[in-house]
């Protein structure tokens, strides 16, 4: 149900954005030396680190002869949320996030190129202000590009919600924590925008099926916009020519 207070009478959201504005995204590739690829991404106040190791030999139990095994671990720092988080990983929500991350990233990686191998992706959330899954997928996408693993396309994720302004329903893109907590619906889409395909679709809270279409379209549009931003960041990083690894070896 769209909450009436998500959108004010002037058409501004709770944090002052317009309904179709994304939060500011700042990112940096190649922030660590040890992993094969790494990235740091900020989406508004949500700050996420991603590190990629691989492809390397897979452990015997997890090995697959047909494709590479993608292993994701999602961890939230204890200081990342408003109240101190006692269990950074291993609780049910983190396990579910790891499964969803694995699903989205497996759709993007060309898994048939590295049979019997394993790619490890570690996500650490330093500050959580809503949209942590989306920021994690975006950061992991950059880290995969930094590590040189072949991808089918960029994989980006975006969330969308529904606000009500007088009589009209207006979809809101990039949901922040305060909007999530106000019992607004949150539809999360992870897609490969250049191919138009959806890798993951997830929704919590109630949404009437008549409004589903506009919220999904807005989220897909948000994914496309984020892809443009990430692409720009990758090109700029390549133009500068340095990662921390290059600095050490030269």
């Amino acid at each position: 149900m769209p909450a009436a207070d998500l959108l004010s009478s002037q058409g501004l959201r709770l944090d002052g954005r317009r309904p179709n504005e994304l939060r500011r995204i700042r990112c940096k590739l190649g922030v660590f030396t040890q992993p094969d690829g790494s990235a740091y991404l900020e989406q508004g106040n949500t700050k996420v680190l991603a590190a990629v190791y691989g492809p390397h030999q897979a452990s015997k139990s997890k090995m697959s002869t047909e494709a590479v095994v993608v292993n994701c671990q999602y961890s939230m720092a204890t200081f990342s949320t408003g109240e101190r988080k006692n269990r950074p990983r291993g609780d049910r929500k983190s396990q579910e996030m790891s499964m969803h991350l694995r699903q989205a990233l497996t759709a993007a990686i060309k898994t048939e190129m590295y049979p019997r191998s394993q790619i490890d992706i570690y996500i650490e959330v330093l500050q959580a202000d809503g949209g942590t899954y989306c920021a994690s997928v975006n950061a992991a996408s950059l880290a995969l590009i930094d590590s040189g693993i072949p991808l089918r396309a960029y994989v980006t994720a975006c969330s969308a919600s529904l606000g009500r302004q007088s009589a009209t329903h207006e979809p809101l893109v990039d949901v922040s924590h305060i909007e999530e907590a106000a019992d607004g619906v949150c539809l999360t889409v992870a897609s490969l925008p250049s191919t138009g395909s959806i890798a993951l679709l997830e929704m919590s809270n109630r949404l009437h099926m008549d409004h589903f279409n506009i919220v999904l379209t807005r989220a897909m549009q948000g994914c496309r916009d984020i892809e443009v931003i990430l692409d720009g960041a990758v090109r700029q990083h390549l133009a500068e020519g340095w990662t921390k690894q290059d600095v050490i070896t030269i």
């Binding site: 149900m1 697959s64 047909e66 494709a67 049910r92 929500k93 396990q95 579910e96 499964m99 699903q103 497996t106 759709a107 060309k110 898994t111 048939e112 019992d183 539809l187 897609s191 490969l192 191919t195 138009g196 395909s197 959806i198 890798a199 993951l200 679709l201 997830e202 929704m203 919590s204 809270n205 109630r206 949404l207 009437h208 099926m209 008549d210 589903f212 279409n213 999904l216 897909m220």
Partner: protein, 375 residues
């Protein structure tokens, strides 16, 4: 025990017949298996069977301290147990990906959608509230655990009654079931989940069984383009989507989700009706002081009790009444041997299927001669 792999033959065969418009058990693409809800003697205990998938759900309550951030609301725990009784590949006491998946889907559908009135579970603000614990045990896994588990959860919550209590100054007295009538839980709306199996070419299968589900969730060598996925939709009777989850391979357009939404809205409404009727019927029986327990599912007269239907592959063009001319010639040769009266009947119960049905009666020992001198 390790998971038995899905062979390439089975996978290719199923993908081929699905693209030609058939299903292995003869159902249409939007037909579900037989749904059966039965309640136990305790309030809040029920077994739901969807075809051969059987799930037991139980709701219990106890007094606990509320969370600090929500001092006037009750607490709900959902716990799913998959043990080797359900399928040989499950390991006892181990939380696998499937367990986490099921628990999170049920939590999103029933906790995050706020279908249960938590404030009615409060006893004393900031000190005592009712904590409901929903235990789901999978008895048999034949595909589509999510749908069956959600129906079981909803039926058991709707059936459950908590003890009444009275406040006496500082003390709170909780009455037993014999002193005061227990109170049913307050549900704002009734959300139910349905599962669809997605195959290539935009084909949606309702209520996939174990084989169809395994084909969808397996990996393919060609990459993601031809693999399928599973779409879980949770809707209530007011056509609101409470839960949406797409697992598996990447899908190309979102049209298939819209198609699924329309189909799910009708299905969920029907399920909610069925659940409400079942709870009302059970309530009537209890008011008449009839004893209700699970033994009603098991009948002692009939030989086939709680067992599976023998045929799970149906041939679409088989008619039991057609007899070939060739067969009649063969029959005339055996005239001198008198066949004994058969204990079974060949009955066309479902169109295009022949089923062996035993004549009703108790099981009997059959005389077997021990003359066979062959080795």
């Amino acid at each position: 025990m390790r998971d038995t792999c899905l062979s390439n033959c089975e996978k290719n065969f199923i993908q081929k017949i699905v693209s030609q418009g058939h299903r292995l058990d003869g159902r249409n693409f939007n037909e579900t298996r037989k749904l059966d809800i039965s309640f136990g003697s305790e309030y809040g205990c029920c077994i739901v069977s969807l075809g051969e998938t059987k799930i037991l759900s139980e709701v219990t309550c106890e007094v606990a301290q509320p969370k600090q951030i929500r001092p006037n609301e009750g607490i709900i725990f959902i716990n799913v147990e998959l043990n080797p009784m359900a399928a040989p590949q499950f390991e006892a006491n181990r939380q696998t990906d499937l367990t986490v998946y099921l628990v999170r889907l049920l939590e999103k559908c029933y906790k995050d959608s706020k279908c249960i009135d938590l404030e009615s579970l409060c006893i004393v603000v900031e000190e005592k509230v009712w904590s409901l614990r929903i235990n789901i045990k999978v008895l048999n896994h034949d595909g589509n655990l999510t749908e069956c588990a959600s129906i079981a959860t909803l039926a058991s919550i709707a059936h459950f009654r908590r003890p009444d209590f009275t406040r006496d100054g500082d003390r709170v007295i909780i009455h037993t079931l014999t002193e005061k009538d227990p109170i049913p839980t307050v549900l704002y709306h009734y959300p139910v989940c349905t599962t669809f199996a997605l195959y290539s070419n935009d084909i949606l299968l309702t209520d996939p069984n174990f084989l169809e589900e395994s084909v969808c969730t397996s990996n393919t060598e060609e990459g993601i383009n031809t693999a399928g996925g599973l779409l879980v939709l949770g809707m209530n009777q007011y056509r609101e989507v409470c839960l949406l989850d797409l697992t598996g391979a990447a899908i190309y357009t979102s049209n298939i989700v819209h198609k699924a939404l329309l189909s799910a809205a009708d299905k969920c409404k029907k399920y909610v009706e069925i659940i409400k009727n079942a709870v009302a019927k059970d309530d009537n029986l209890r008011q008449k002081r009839e004893k209700i327990n699970f033994s009603d599912i098991i009948t002692t007269e009939h030989m086939l009790a709680l067992s599976r239907k023998d045929l799970n592959i149906q041939l679409k063009h088989y008619d039991v009444t057609e007899l070939d001319e060739k067969d009649e010639e063969m029959f005339s040769d055996e005239d001198d041997i008198k066949p004994e009266p058969s204990k079974y009947d060949v009955v066309a119960t479902v169109p295009n299927t022949a089923e062996l049905k035993s004549k009703e009666g108790k099981s009997e020992w059959i005389e077997v001669s021990s003359d066979s001198g062959e080795d």
